[in-house]
Symmetry: C2
Subunit: 117 residues, 2 copies
Amino acid sequence: MQDSARLDATFQALSDPTRRAILQRLAREGDVTVMDLAEPFAMSQPAISKHLKVLEKAGLVSRGRDAQKRPVHLEAQPLAEATGWLIEYRKYWSAQFGRLDGLLEELQAIEAAAGKN
Amino acid sequence: MQDSARLDATFQALSDPTRRAILQRLAREGDVTVMDLAEPFAMSQPAISKHLKVLEKAGLVSRGRDAQKRPVHLEAQPLAEATGWLIEYRKYWSAQFGRLDGLLEELQAIEAAAGKN
DNA sequence: CAGTTACAAAACCATATAGTTATTTATATG
DNA sequence: CATATAAATAACTATATGGTTTTGTAACTG
């Protein structure tokens, strides 16, 4: 996917509260099944499956296989890219962010290292 | 606006390449008029105005008045909030981000200070 | 092999999005 | 006051989104 299209898909995926909640849950609890994900939401199973498809298309999650279950797994890379986009422009947003430069360099170094996994 | 609804609107606004380009331009060049913004895009003036309305609803830009012109001004706050959401969960994305905690605290302190403008 | 579990796919609906062209409004200027 | 400029609004179109219910399918279980 084109860089820009990937960002489109990532931000689009993040624009829904149900999907953000799904990502948060995956971040905290690790892999979860669709039924488990659907449980806290006032929403049908197919609705959750649709959200998962959106997340999967954006590369934010991948799916495993465990008998009938299709465990959902968080994929961090697109989140890192989206964060990168936002951070890239922070220095312009306000003079107050000027002194962030050092921190940002560190962040980027760590990100680059993490990207090699 | 509710916190969640604000994030919805921000990420939604960021999910379009034209709008991201507008934000980038505002970040680099400061306030710009609608005509100036529209110029590099293969898109009509009303289309740009619509995008600006989306950005304005999300609180990402505000509009001034200079004779017939309505200069567009970048508002950083929602971008900071979106960045905050992403960064908040980074520590979970990978064990490698564990040592970021100190940096993140600093970032958040600066953000909090900036929020008081 | 009949039933159950976990999920996906299909078909449908209402609303939102992203664009268009044409028109209107507000301000400035000759 | 007539015209030009800058931008908003209106009306329309096509497609996408987010939800529903119903149906289908793959894998386990008794």
